[in-house]
């Protein structure tokens, strides 16, 4: 009793002291950050970005590398999800947003200025599986993939799976479907593909970052789906290429539009980008593209920037960083399992970047 009586006022005083201390710390911080090297030759610029988690490994690599070349430009990227990225760039709380699925036109209209999509890289989604006793790479047809995820093909030794995998001893085992439970660009890419190849999919399920799955279990994140596939014999699921490679999961070759079974190799993913004409709005779906070597489940991912940005220093930093990213930055893509942009797309993005302005002044006249 005496202890509590004595301790209580003391803890109260501590709490108050803490409050005071916090209050004091808050004040000098903002001016201090800029003031540190304020009088050094190039002014320090801090750029904020937020959005998609899917390209985050590549973006953070880019930002670190770019900072090495241009020490006065610091870029911070929060991978809070595409939805958050769109919301924040619309409210102008960040300097650039990032999203996997392009913005809807009606959402873009809500923004206080013209927003441009800047494709930065291409990623692939693979169909990974855990079939006991099967070491070979499986070949899957588009309609078979759709019917598996619709819950219509339920056994691994289904004649339709056997048809494209001659000589593989497929077991009489139930297929356990694993899908993403959280809203994600990966799901958008995968359902976009399924919608392209199956009318029934469009009718029953539809395309989106979160859909009402007809069958299977939901797991959180690429890592959750990966874990669930790994520990469940008979499981099938879709994940980003990087996760499947790093976790040594088996993944299928998918039959593309040209009738070839294609493995998700980097070259096959870039080929997918080359197989689709990039329109002027700089966003397009890569689901089931033309091209004999193209892997059919791939997607661009985008950064979102305003055509006319207010803060000149930041605007210049953003424009130069994007210019660097679509050129020198592309060489970092492959080691992180993303595919570099095809050359014609780089040309189109270049033209778009040259239109970026700040206060009416063009930023990259001679980059």
């Amino acid at each position: 009793m005496t202890m509590t009586r004595r301790l209580f006022p003391i803890s109260l005083i501590c709490a108050l002291l803490l409050l005071v201390a916090c209050g004091k710390k808050d004040k000098p911080a903002p001016s201090g950050e800029e003031g540190v090297r304020g009088d050094a030759a190039p002014k320090n610029v801090s750029i904020q970005g937020a959005g998609a988690t899917f390209p985050y490994p590549l973006y953070s690599k880019w930002m670190a590398e770019y900072n090495k070349i241009n020490p006065h430009i610091r870029i911070n990227y929060q991978s809070i999800g595409s939805g958050g990225g769109i919301r924040q760039i619309t409210k102008q709380t960040v300097d650039f947003g990032a999203t996997d699925a392009p913005m809807k036109d009606e959402d873009a209209k809500k923004a206080p200025g013209t927003l441009h999509h800047i494709p930065t890289t291409i990623g692939a989604v693979v169909v990974a599986y855990n079939v006991p006793g099967v070491d070979q790479k499986l070949n899957l047809d588009p309609d078979v993939v759709a019917d598996i995820f619709l819950g219509k093909i339920t056994k691994w030794n289904d004649p339709r799976i056997k048809a494209s995998n001659e000589g593989v001893a497929l077991p009489d085992k139930n297929i356990s479907i694993v899908h993403r439970s959280d809203g994600s660009g990966t799901t958008a890419v995968f359902t976009d593909y399924l919608g392209r190849v199956s009318d029934e999919w469009i009718e029953k399920v539809g395309v989106g970052k979160a859909v009402k799955w007809p069958a299977g279990l939901g797991a959180k994140g690429n890592e959750g789906v990966t874990g669930q596939i790994k520990t469940t014999p008979g499981a099938i699921g879709y994940i980003e290429l990087a996760y499947a490679t790093q976790n040594k999961l088996a993944f299928a070759s998918i039959k593309n539009k040209a009738g070839q079974y294609v493995e998700p190799k980097i070259s096959a993913i870039t080929a997918a980008g080359a197989g689709v004409e990039m329109p002027d709005e700089l966003h397009v779906s890569l689901a089931n593209p033309d091209g004999a070597d193209a892997y059919p489940i791939a997607s661009y991912t985008y950064m979102l920037v305003y055509e006319d940005m207010k803060d000149h220093a930041k605007a210049e930093g953003v424009a130069k960083f994007l210019w660097w990213a679509i050129h020198d930055g592309q060489k970092f893509a492959e080691e992180l399992h993303y595919a570099p942009l095809p050359e014609p797309v780089v040309k189109k993005v270049e033209a778009r970047l040259k239109t970026l302005k700040s206060g009416g002044k063009v930023l990259l006249s001679n980059p």
């Binding site: 959280d182 809203g183 994600s184 979160a210 939901g218 797991a219």
Partner: protein
């Protein structure tokens, strides 16, 4: 989200308060400036809690307004959750939250009370503190660690061993039918049970320790066995505090997000079987909020949050009433 402000009302306090309390009156008696300031500062802190609560409620209502307008009351009992068609309903999530918490309590309460009785009544003195410390350590494990353990150890074990066994022995009940996938309501409930056991058992132990020693001595003096002493004189006195301990556990189970998301299978469906995947309110918010771009989808998620708020509140009020009732009817209660 787990409401730590749940009342425990363990007898320790009441036992202390029932004694004459000269300190308290001394505090009130003196009227110097320090006391005055102290009183208002503490009152301010107390008000802060209430203001925060009201503001959170309002913010969530504000965020959910669009969905409330669109779907009205049927949102609560609609079973549809289709972000593509923008058709939303909360029933599968309410069901999943309540049932998974009940499964957790069903498993955890007997174990926790057993632990508490052993620690306070039976265990030799040298074992009590280390064991109590270990139990409380379980509460400090981050929930994502429970989730990972669940994915890599619990789910395979459930799929290969527990679920086939339950289906063979109790398969006539609809609760234990259907394919054994390892992920589902039962696995989610079990991981919740493990997470709330330290909470319930450590509070229950404190409650039992506060039961006056004289009651035990009296029972023993009358020739009661150890079992009779505990069940007839210790437990009845501690009843209200024990209910309080269970409520604390329930609060944690209702609000738990990470571990259960990793194990429950995340499927917005109501199924009689405990093997089937399900979904909780906290999980769907954590899963879909970050990537929800449509206004209606966001509003529906906010409304789920509001409902979780309400469900927690209602369950806490019911439990509170239960504590008061048992406290009044308990023999020898203050």
């Amino acid at each position: 989200m787990s409401s730590p402000d749940v009342p425990t009302v363990p007898p320790p306090q009441s036992a202390r308060l029932s004694r004459p309390a000269p300190e308290t009156s001394r505090w009130r008696g003196s009227r110097n400036w320090g006391d005055f300031a102290f009183r208002w500062i503490t009152a301010g802190f107390a008000a802060l809690v209430i203001i925060t609560l009201l503001m959170m409620g309002y913010e969530m209502y504000d965020g959910a307004a669009l969905a409330i307008e669109e779907f009205g009351l049927p949102f609560i009992w609609s079973q549809e959750w289709d972000p593509v068609q923008e058709d939303f309903g909360a029933l599968p999530f309410i069901y999943g939250t309540v049932v998974s918490s009940l499964v957790a309590l069903f498993i955890s309460v007997p174990i926790s009370f057993g632990v508490a009785v052993f620690l306070s009544e039976m265990a030799p003195a040298w074992l009590r503190n280390p064991l109590a410390f270990l139990v409380e350590l379980l509460a400090a494990v981050p929930s994502v660690v429970y989730g990972l353990w669940g994915i890599f150890a619990l789910a395979p074990w459930m799929r290969e061993t527990v679920e086939p066994f339950l289906r063979d022995t109790l398969g006539f009940l609809p609760l234990f039918q259907g394919p054994n996938q390892g992920y589902g309501m039962l696995s989610g409930g079990i991981v919740l049970a493990i997470m709330i056991t330290p909470t319930i058992s450590s509070v229950a132990r404190e409650v039992l320790r506060a039961v006056p020693q004289t009651l035990r001595e009296a029972a023993l003096a009358l020739g009661a066995t150890r079992w009779e002493t505990i069940s007839f004189s210790v437990l009845p006195v501690a009843k209200s505090g024990l209910v309080g301990a269970v409520i604390l556990g329930l609060g944690r189970a209702l609000g738990e997000t990470m571990a259960i998301t990793m194990l429950i299978g995340n499927r917005a469906e109501i199924s009689a079987s405990l093997f089937a995947p399900s979904y909780t309110m906290a999980s769907v918010i954590a899963n879909e909020f970050t990537e929800a771009t449509d206004d209606l989808h966001l509003a529906a998620l906010a409304e789920i949050g509001l409902l979780l708020f309400l469900v927690t509140l209602i369950l806490n009020i019911v439990a509170r009433l239960l504590v008061w009732r048992t406290a009044r009817s308990a023999p020898g209660a203050p």
